[in-house]
Symmetry: C2
Subunit: 203 residues, 2 copies
């Protein structure tokens, strides 16, 4: 296969979109949209976000001040609002109020939960580090809150009901999730067994 070297650019290829929220110094809820997010630990359960520290970001300032934030997963039925939270600045206007969205106080940390979000994590900041242009903020997940409407009978989140937004930076568009292509772990375990059989056979 012919390979080509591409210019250096962020390869999200793709990434899911999240909305982070925090209280400002006046107790007002800020929120902004991010694509640089990952689960980053199991003991304790952590998530990490990377935020551009070279730009004036009100939500970044607020979350650092409070040492806490909530992180939520918007759905494809909320693309307009989510995209707006990414392009407008909290220094200009009250974005959540403009959208008609409402917040509740998180239970475990001092941060606002956006009521319209179907899945939210309450996070306490336990580590930050600035690497070049971006600050990496690691939050310990203290509580997970989900709408009952997105859960199955075992309380698993059903992605087809959550409808997460997949961000494609290559073509500046949002995608939905697709259909099932395989089983995790089972597929590889079967191949592992097959390989072991082949090895024994060759002895």
């Amino acid at each position: 296969m012919a390979k080509k070297e591409l210019k250096l650019h962020p390869v999200v290829a793709p990434s899911e979109i999240v909305v982070v929220s925090a209280y400002d110094e006046d107790g007002r809820a800020d929120a902004c949209t991010l694509a640089f997010y990952m689960v980053s630990g199991l003991k304790p359960l952590c998530v990490t976000i990377a935020v551009n520290a070279e730009k004036k970001r009100k939500t970044l300032k607020s979350m650092r001040r409070q040492n806490a934030f909530t992180l939520a997963f918007p759905g494809t039925d909320q693309i307009r609002e989510t995209d707006y939270l990414g392009v407008e600045s909290g220094y200009n206007t009250d974005k959540l109020k403009n959208l008609g969205w409402t917040v509740s106080r998180a239970k475990t940390v001092h941060a606002p939960l956006i009521n319209e979000m179907r899945l939210s994590l309450e996070c306490e900041i336990i580590h930050t580090v600035t690497i070049g242009s971006h600050i990496h903020i690691t939050g310990e997940v203290r509580r997970i809150l989900a709408d009952e409407s997105i859960l199955n009978e075992n309380d698993n989140i059903v992605l087809e009901k959550l409808k997460p937004i997949i961000y494609d930076e290559e073509q500046l568009r949002y995608l939905g999730i697709g259909t099932k292509q395989g089983d995790a772990y089972k597929t590889g375990a079967a191949l592992k067994k097959e390989m072991a059989g082949l090895k024994e056979g060759s002895l």
Copy 2:
């Protein structure tokens, strides 16, 4: 909407799957599959992965020794092989050889490029930090290599051709990407303009 508190568990909801690769002390290529990945900086261009440091991971040891790794995006047509790289250990067997996959030397760092991957990043480790169970490894992206078959006429990566694997930990399955649901930035900018118009109108 009725909200429910869920037990603490990693919310990938969803995440894309990546394969990282490094040379071991004998110069043999190791590879393993990860779901905890994000783009984490623009200046310099960085990616961060989180790896469980409590488990014996050969690829982790190798990448730390060489201070370099490659990170690649497998496609849904490579789910069996990708899942296998996640469930088998490099301490037991030569996983890449078993798959019949081949490697080339990366150009900018001392790490192996898996030839069968349609999109790869060459990364030099510039920061590591251990937070609880996981080590966060930040690599500066030194080179991006793509198959011509996944590019459009502007050298943008076409996700429908890359066919990234979306991991759903809630139901232990792999999904493909879905269809376009909206334009990034344009959608929010239109709403921002609309809001400004409303405000002027209300004066």
